[in-house]
């Protein structure tokens, strides 16, 4: 359907101006040149370079030698890489809980006659516009085992809380909570927009058929929202796989992070990349790590596109 719509649009455009002259096309390129050049120089070229560097070994002060697939052989055998990938996947998987949560909150905010919507929306959206480092610092205090607010509240009800981000048993969950908390506002706004785009007639028709609020939510809202949910899941999976700043600040930056007893549960792929590239000066290997991450992201995204047929309904 989109294809036909496009064709119709192009035909209309052709009809409107008979001959799109070559000068016009040239000007078009001139106008996109700044962005295009920026993308090529600052995104595309570094990606290609990184791909090349992943086959080299670096000296501490530059200068590299071609080593072929040696870095990749090392990567496959490195237990730290496997662990970092598992941690990253665990974070990504657990983070998906944020999507239904965002839908529920969006549905509540969308209730007709709800007062103070603007206040709630702002409250939910505030973490999104806060710097990730500030967010991580704040949660570090909240999670502090001895002085943190979380444990002080728990103490009121007689629970002796753990050292949330230093305890291997709780660290990943503590991290996921912060991840969801800081991204829920963004998802919620998009879901809210998606909900408001659902035609009112559908609800009216459902109402005439005798569907209550809850039934309407499951039979109308959810299916109609699936394209939005698909978009959100793609974006948040990619974002989660690139997790760095939260862990970097919450575990104690730099090498000190390794003294965190929970570090082996928290270390992400990008974290490992950072350590290899900038702490131990192993840049070729670091390049191989990010290229592997790129492939992982690509694979998961392709998989999601494959799976969408099962659950995404386009009107």
């Amino acid at each position: 359907m989109t294809a036909t719509a496009e064709k119709r649009l192009t035909r209309a455009a052709h009809a409107a101006r008979r001959r799109p002259s070559r000068t016009e096309a040239l000007w078009g390129y001139v106008f996109i040149a700044p962005t295009g050049l920026g993308l090529a120089v600052f995104y595309l070229w570094p990606v290609l370079q990184t791909a090349y560097f992943s086959f080299t070994e670096w000296g501490a002060f530059g200068g590299h030698t071609w080593t072929g697939p040696a870095n990749y052989a090392r990567l496959v055998a490195d237990p730290e890489v496997g662990r970092a990938v598992l941690n990253t996947l665990a974070y990504t998987g657990l983070g998906l809980v944020g999507i239904p949560l965002a839908i529920v909150f969006a549905a509540l905010l969308n209730l007709p006659g709800l007062r103070g919507v603007a206040v709630y929306r702002t409250a939910f959206f505030l973490p999104v516009v806060t710097m990730p480092v500030a967010v991580a610092m704040l949660w570090r205090w909240l999670y502090n085992g001895d002085y943190g607010l979380v444990n002080q509240v728990l103490a009121l009800v007689g629970v002796d809380g753990p050292n949330w981000i230093a305890d291997p048993a709780t660290a990943m969950y503590a991290l996921v909570v912060v991840g969801i908390w800081s991204s829920i506002g963004y998802n919620l706004i998009i879901f809210l927009a998606g909900m408001q785009a659902i035609p009112k007639e559908l609800y009216e028709a459902a109402g005439l058929d005798g569907a209550g609020r809850v039934r309407q939510f499951f039979s109308v809202t959810l299916p109609m929202l699936s394209p939005t949910a698909f978009f959100i899941s793609i974006v948040s999976v990619i974002g989660s796989l690139q997790l760095f700043d939260l862990v970097f600040v919450m575990t104690g930056s730099g090498q000190a992070a390794r003294a965190n007893p929970a570090y082996s549960r928290l270390q992400t792929v990008v974290q490992l990349f950072y350590e290899r590239a900038f702490v131990t000066d192993d840049r070729g290997y670091a390049a191989a790590i990010v290229i592997a991450l790129l492939l992982l992201i690509a694979a998961l995204t392709v998989l999601q596109f494959r799976l969408q047929r099962r659950w995404v309904h386009y009107v």
């Binding site: 000296g59 501490a60 002060f61 530059g62 999670y143 502090n144 085992g145 001895d146 002085y147 943190g148 753990p162 050292n163 981000i165 230093a166 305890d167 104690g252 930056s253 730099g254 090498q255 000190a256 390794r258 003294a259 965190n260 007893p261 929970a262 570090y263 350590e275 900038f278 702490v279 131990t280 000066d281």
Partner: protein, 417 residues
Amino acid sequence: MWKSARSGAALLCAALLASACAGGEQAGTGARSQEKVTLSYGVWDATQQAVMQELAAEFTKTHPNIAVDVQVTPWADYWTKLKAAVTGGAAPDVFWMNGPNFQLYASNGVIKPIEEQVDTSVYPKSLVGLYTYDGKLYGLPKDMDTIGVWYNKTLFDAAKVKYPAADWTWADFKAAAAKLTDAKKGVHAIGAQLTSFQEYQYNTIYQAGGHVISPDGRKSGYDDPKTIEGLRFWTDLIAAGQSPDLKTMTDTAPIQLFEAGKLAMYWGGSWDVAEFTKNDYTKDKVDVAPLPKGEKQATIIHGVANVMSAKTEHPAEAWEFVKFLGSKPAADLLGKKGPIPAYNGTQSAWAAAHPELKLQVFLDAVSYAVPYPVSKNTAAWQEAELTHLTKAWTGEVPIEKAAADLAAGMNELLAKE
């Protein structure tokens, strides 16, 4: 259009050539001494920026043709930025160097060895050794630091424990630690900090008669039973509940616990004077004692040195400046306002600045001090130290096993250097 581009490029080349020739000519006619030169000087400590600028101004007085631009980069970014600058050929002419990074820079030939004969006897021998690579000296020591035991007099009085004596031993330390711990009040004797080897593990390793790395820098010392004794000193304190566990210290750093009155002792460097005399809680409650003696008396000594970039455009001027920074007048000025100067005999001014503290402790320690252990790629095995010892600090793995694993991992890394 192509034609004009090409001719433009040709013109540019010609201009570049001309300027290059002009530069050569100037040098050839000996006009250089008249030339005004500005040296860049890279440092990381903002609290020392003022005294560094003062030193630079002092230097320009005697060398009117050389101005010095002091460039401060915060510690967190200093090495990353410097490495990028060196790689790109834009390093400062003169910059601060530390022990763990020195051999990496020297072995890659990106800093310049000192060619002139200098009298190194004016500096502590261990610091001269720290900045010597392949028999060549690369930097003149600027300052130095040693480690001592900072203690909270109020907590000692409350537990009725005598203040540490100058000749106290590990046994005395352990006896005091047992008495100072008060679980009910949440007070621990000490925090067995894992992340600062310079203030903690390295000291006890050498006190126990062990070593971190062989003198030729090729083999790890972590499989030496004496080294393991030095590590056990700390894990025992955690096991006995005289130190908070690693989780607690991860959430709240030992220095914060000490400044909150939750730790009776804190092993810390001479650089902590600035912190503890300023902090509202500690300023009238703390004093300092030498580290307790194990099989031997030992403390880690470290110090910053001034080095020159190998690619500096003004090697003669840069050397003049480094020489000045390593001189007695410069040390005298530094001692009044900054860390302990490295130049022997100029340190008393530093100790006199806080007569209420026994700062002489840090100076006396120089006589038995051990240099900070380093190799060509120190950062690589420092990461391994944390990775393996974390497991012993949590009690997950016995210290013998963690140390053996660390020794194996470190030897593998050293073999690659």
